[in-house]
């Protein structure tokens, strides 16, 4: 079986286990290439349907094109689209771009905090109304007990230690040193009230696998990934102020894949353009222990 098929089948299996076993399920969609591949796999797993809500954490510092793309496909693919945010931090301008905190602190407030309170239902969730295409406050505030996330083991050290089904306690903490065993395609699907499980269908995929799959399946991508004639493109998408573009001529999916296989990026880590990683001693462990994706 070709490797991409092996990866695809495993991911679909994980999706179906999660859907069958984990009560109140949602999936995080960051609009980036990984979680968009994840969305595509969900549609495959459920034969064209996505039977759970997609949650996007809006830092309001994302590159504008990402939000346009999100709303376009939310309508086109009939997605149950939800976004959450840290309204207080944004109102007080308590952010890195506003000069009031460090990058790491900003990530913690706008992403980690916003995520955990949106998942728990304590903070408002904005849900798309397909009748008018507008976001409205969701009346459902039940906590999500299963959260599907598109992290990959090859991204950075702490992610390489992840499980496919990774439990989190009430405070979203990740107990790295004491993770459940996971073997023979059997996952942790039983959990105590108040805890939840992060599900990682893309754990075994590499950045190159992602692009090869996007090419094979012809998955629409936000255009920020491509060089539009000025010799720069984004390799990894995050907030505008903390994500740098890279010098690259790659203008199509196959050119990006080729660049990763043999070109200038064959030996350079994907997240090298993400400034917050460097503040954390070269890894994301501190953020991730507290609930960062």
């Amino acid at each position: 079986m070709p490797h991409l098929d092996t990866l695809e089948n495993k991911s679909i299996h994980i999706f179906r286990e999660a859907y069958s076993q984990l009560g109140n399920l949602c999936m995080l969609w960051s609009i980036g290439k990984d979680s968009t591949v994840l969305l595509w796999l969900a549609r495959k797993a459920f034969f064209g349907h996505v039977p759970f809500p997609l949650v996007h954490i809006d830092t309001h510092h994302k590159i504008p094109e990402m939000i346009e793309y999100r709303d376009k496909y939310a309508v086109k693919w009939n997605l149950d689209m939800i976004y959450g945010e840290n309204a207080e931090a944004l109102a007080n301008k308590n952010t890195y771009p506003d000069g009031k905190c460090t990058r790491i602190e900003c990530c913690r407030l706008l992403k980690t905090e916003a995520l955990s309170h949106t998942l728990s239902g304590e903070w408002p969730r904005w849900r798309i109304n397909h009748a008018n295409g507008k976001y409205e406050i969701d009346s459902n505030t039940e906590p999500y007990t299963g959260v599907i996330v598109g992290v990959r083991a090859d991204e950075e050290g702490s992610r390489s230690k992840e499980r496919y089904f990774s439990p989190r306690n009430r405070n979203n903490d990740w107990d790295v040193g004491n993770q459940p065993p996971e073997f023979w395609n059997q996952y942790k699907t039983d959990f105590a009230k108040g805890t939840h499980v992060r599900v990682h269908p893309l754990l075994d995929w590499t950045e190159l696998n992602i692009w090869e799959y996007i090419e094979r399946e012809n998955i629409p991508m936000v255009s920020l990934y491509f060089n539009k004639g000025n010799g720069v493109r984004y390799r990894s998408l995050g907030c505008g102020p903390c994500t740098n573009s890279v010098q690259s001529e790659a203008a199509t999916v196959s050119e990006i894949a080729e660049e990763l296989r043999t070109g200038k990026f064959a030996n350079i880590a994907e997240r090298s353009g993400r400034a917050q990683d460097k503040e954390d001693g070269g890894g994301l462990e501190t953020l991730r222990r507290e609930g960062y994706m």
């Binding site: 089948n9 179906r16 549609r43 034969f47 040193g177 073997f183 395609n185 030996n267 880590a269």
Partner: protein, 596 residues
């Protein structure tokens, strides 16, 4: 050509240098991301720690502080031939569950032993867990050879000691390689420090691991994950979804679901975005619509009607369990079993034997199974569940145990705990009931052939030449004595009638039963039938006697019987000609060969 993909796990005792070996291998083959080596060197300088290759892998802060691997890490690695995922498993006993997690993702293993420390507890325990997890492709790296002056003697004595241990698990490693991960000997390049080593380097040995053949040759099995009926956008399909474990299926196939026994026919194999596909095979996550709408649910195993063996259905099962829970596994306490997609509660009914997985010593079966122990036991599930035996289809014989939300153990199914013989007996009764009776009686056939059918079983230790004797006897009976005799070779049988049984263990019950059924047919046809078997034991003979209606004569070849068999005749294995004459006489004297 498209590159192959393979997952390899690195296991072994704590501090024997697993992470160092991988780190060094990555560095020496330029597989690290640009700047990674420098970054780790810089971090070490800042913290005034000597640089270690292991830091490249032990990415977690706790691990760098303590200098051990806590959890399994993955790294990606390429050679000309393959893309590898290297899984670094922890060697500390406390983290055995993490080792199991890492190893179960691999199809081959590199087992590291410190030449200075020699074979240690977890060298053996990890070897045992590999065999339990079904990983048979193993290379043993004897590491830190620089610390013992590259001594060939040290290397050989470890090789011998560990080889003996693995032999007890029926594992033969593909290679033993002398290395020093720290220095870089025999990892990517052959080392001048070990001129006495003519074998492979680590890199070469990895590329030499054969790829796992797809499981499409086995019978079809798919644990049902879910049944979907998404009505959005006018979708009216009812789709049975799951991942095919083994075999192949096509639209139109008649299917049976176990344990319910409900049957239907595959209408379409559903797919998205394309409409429908032609066939589904092992490894694919698929969905089916069925011709007849039947009510089935998650937990059942989908099979193709008529393929054999069908799965077992039972509530009393003989299993081999490895226990990872901090609290011991207790008798008569409720646990959950997850096998395939089935999840139900069960109790530990009986502990038959408990074994220390680090030295294979058996301890008296007590009332519980302690952390990191392995036990053969009988469990009772709340309801009958469907499963296969590990010797038939490994995938659907594997299960995990859940105690209070946590996976705390795993196991494989050895047998349906209904008595094996009574089970075989039941089948034989049914067979006899359905048997097409011939117009020709056994007696009239015997009269026509001037012989009574009999099965001669030539057995003895593995290295005695039973085949030669069998062939010479067959020749003598047919050519010299003009009888109807036939030698049924084990290979003829194993790769034909028993070709769907995967196990290496040729004494498995099902193989013997089938062998006996084939023998029974030939005996029914009036033959004097000769077969050979290595180290036949009493229980094997019992199965044969249950299945075979005619007489059986057992002949032990060799000076003394090394099993519990009570053989009819014992002959020495040196003089073939004399033995043939003796056995012909025996057939005459016991009245199997009539006088012409």
């Amino acid at each position: 050509m498209k590159k192959e993909d393979m997952n390899i796990v690195i296991v072994g005792h704590v501090d024997h240098g697993k992470s160092t070996l991988i780190g060094r291998l990555l560095a020496d083959t330029n597989s690290l991301p640009q700047g990674k080596l420098e970054q780790v060197r810089e971090t070490c300088r800042k913290n005034s720690k000597p640089f270690e290759y292991a830091f490249l892998l032990d990415a977690l802060k706790d691990e760098q502080a303590q200098g051990i691997t806590i959890d399994t890490a993955r790294c990606f690695f390429k050679t000309e031939k393959r893309n590898y995922i290297i899984i670094d498993a922890p060697g500390h006993i406390e983290f055995l569950k993490n080792m199991v997690t890492g190893a179960s993702r691999a199809e081959a293993a590199l087992l590291v032993i410190d030449a200075n420390e020699g074979v240690r507890e977890n060298s053996r325990r990890h070897g045992y867990m590999l065999s339990m997890l079904g990983i048979k492709k193993i290379v043993v790296a004897i590491n830190k050879l620089d610390l013992v002056n590259y001594s060939e003697n040290v290397f050989n004595s470890i090789k011998e000691e560990y080889g003996k241990f693995l032999a007890q698990l029926s594992i033969t490693p593909m290679a033993y390689i002398p290395v020093s991960a720290f220095v870089g000997d025999n990892l990517a390049l052959k080392s001048e420090n070990t001129p006495w080593h003519n074998g492979l380097t680590i890199l070469e040995s990895m590329n030499a691991f054969p790829c796992e053949p797809p499981l499409t040759q086995q019978v079809f099995r798919m644990p049902v994950q879910d049944v979907y009926k998404f009505t959005k956008n006018g979708d009216d399909r009812r789709i049975v979804a799951g991942t095919v474990e083994t075999g192949v299926i096509k639209p139109g196939c008649s299917v049976v679901f176990y344990p319910s026994g409900k049957s239907s026919k595959v209408k379409n194999i559903e797919s998205f975005p394309q409409k429908a596909i032609e066939s589904a095979f092992a490894g694919q996550a698929v969905g089916f619509t069925l011709d007849e709408q039947i009510y089935i649910k998650r937990g059942e195993i989908m099979t193709i009607d008529g393929e054999t063996p069908p799965p077992y259905v039972s509530a009393k099962i003989k299993v081999n369990i490895f226990w990872l829970g901090k609290q011991s596994m207790q008798k008569n306490k409720k646990y959950l079993i997850k096998l395939g997609t089935e999840k139900t509660s069960f109790v530990l009914d009986e502990i038959l034997s408990v074994m220390n997985s680090s030295d294979l010593s058996a301890s008296a079966a007590g009332s519980c199974i302690k952390c990191n122990e392995v036990a053969e036991c009988i469990i009772r599930t709340d309801k009958p569940i469907a499963f296969d035996l590990t010797e038939n289809i490994a995938n659907t014989s594997r299960f995990v145990i859940v105690d209070k939300y946590e996976i705390t153990g795993g196991g494989i199914v050895l047998a349906d705990a209904r008595d094996e013989e009574s089970d075989i007996q039941k089948r034989v009764m049914l067979r006899n009931y359905k048997w097409e009776q011939s117009e020709i009686s056994m007696e009239s056939r015997a009269e026509r052939y001037s012989q009574k059918p009999v099965l001669l079983v030539l057995t003895g230790e593995r290295d005695t030449d039973k085949k030669l004797l069998a062939k010479e006897l067959e020749k003598s009976l047919v050519e010299k004595n003009g009888r109807f005799a036939y030698y049924l070779g084990i290979g003829t049988f194993l790769y034909g009638v028993a070709s769907d049984i995967k196990s290496q263990d040729d004494t498995s019950t099902e193989k013997i039963r089938r062998f006996a059924e084939v023998a029974n047919l030939m005996l029914d046809a009036g033959m004097i039938l000769i077969v050979t078997a290595s180290s036949l034991a009493n229980k094997d003979l019992k199965i044969m006697k249950t299945v075979i209606s005619t007489d059986i004569e057992t002949i032990w070849v060799g000076s003394e019987i090394t099993t519990d068999l009570e053989a009819d005749v014992v002959i020495s294995d040196d003089v073939c000609e004399e033995n043939v004459a003796m056995l012909v006489d025996l057939l005459k004297n016991k009245g199997y060969m009539f006088k012409f």
